[in-house]
């Protein structure tokens, strides 16, 4: 066994990232759809329990891999820009 150079070594270092543990399975019933009425007020971002909705530019965007479809964002939206649509 000859010695390995530093590039081939492996270390227990981790960076903050989206984990595999919080991914939504195939059980979600409804998902939020953001319409053009969005005013980018960030209320949905503040209230989302999973942190899956973020304002990018002039529109809120949902990360559907982690969204659980709870509907909180649709309820807190002041201009009713988010509607929950059935997935099944």
């Amino acid at each position: 066994m000859s010695s390995l150079s530093f590039e081939y070594q492996f270390f227990p270092v981790s960076h903050p990232a989206e984990g595999a543990g919080g991914k939504t399975g195939n059980w979600r019933v409804v998902k939020p759809i953001v319409s053009e009425r969005c005013i980018a007020c960030n209320a949905c971002f503040l209230w989302c329990p999973e942190g899956t909705i973020q304002v990018r530019g002039k529109r809120a965007e949902v990360n559907y891999e982690y969204c659980k479809g709870c509907g909180v964002c649709a309820n807190v939206c002041p201009v009713k820009a988010i509607s929950m649509v059935s997935e099944t």
Partner: protein, 398 residues
Amino acid sequence: MMKIMSGNEAVALAVKFSRVGVVGIYPITPQTTIIEELAEMRARGEIDTDIVRVESEHSAMGVTLGAAVAGTRAFTATSSQGLLYMHEMIWWTAGSRAPVVMVVATRAVGAPWNIWNENTDFMSERDSGWIMSFASSPQEALDLTLQAFRISEDPRVFVPMMVGMDGFILSHTKTNVYVPSQEDVDQFIPPRRQPYVIDPETQESMGNIFQPVHYMKLRQSINDAIQGSIDVIKEVGREYEKVNPLSDYKTLNVQYKLEDADYAIVTMGAWSLDAMEAIDKLREKGVKVGLYRIRYIRPWAEQEIRRSLEDKRAILVFDRATSLGRAGPLYLEMKATLQSPMKGVIAGLGGVSMSKKDFYEVISNFIEEVKFGNPNKVEWYYPGEVKYVELGTPRSAY
């Protein structure tokens, strides 16, 4: 420059020369004088090391690991019960691959209380993932401690390293030690290198939960790094001759009168020198016997041992440690490496003294056994006239 000093003073000098940043200290016999010496150096202003006093050995290793991943050179030292108390943090240090150096002055483990010398505590950490070397003299303790910083901080290794020495026999016995100069050591040990630094700026963290496959990959990486460190250790040993011209660290383990020998003796630690004297005496009588001293038990230099010992008629392994219920750890390792007839002797536990005469007796009996019997067995040897120690347990009258 030669000076008269004990093994613990030699280790403290090595720590001073290598400009260590943080030392986590907690005293335990027989290692106490290392940190006493370091604290006195700090009081005299010879070093600017941060000496952190903690409340247990577990915390001492924790401080050392924290200092190491934060980016400074770190050191600690301990002994038997303390090493066992540290056991959890030893595994954490090995898993996080932080370059750390620890000196272990070996001592027997309770119960019952015993402060004399035995290697069981050191040998019980073989599986944890450290590079482990064992000194045979105060001189070697100093040399190996200096080399340990260099080896563990090599980019091809990045694994912590442990240096063992026999408690009291080496740690408190004063002999001649060659002390290198600070300039030579500064050229020998480069500035601190490490695989990653924990810093609030970088958002990196260490030791979070890993998926099973990644964990297994990390374990294999540590294993490959330790096995591959054989080349690094030889390189560092060749380079160490600039620091100490009297030394010889070209190979991992040491041979003594072994080239033309029929029988080989395998030992580790301070009593190798007593065994060498016994071998000299046997050579005078025409018995062809040689000694092979194990200096590194991790990495286990399998090819080197095979090349040296495979043509010998029979091998005798001296163990100063036990794996209770089986045999000595060194005997088991040698048994897994070689096919030759082999006898294991367990002696010197708990500070039982083995003299040149006792070694002479054991080796003579072993050679008789090879000629007229079956040497494959494990024997517990008690020196002196009391061959069978009878234990009397006091019982209450009932």
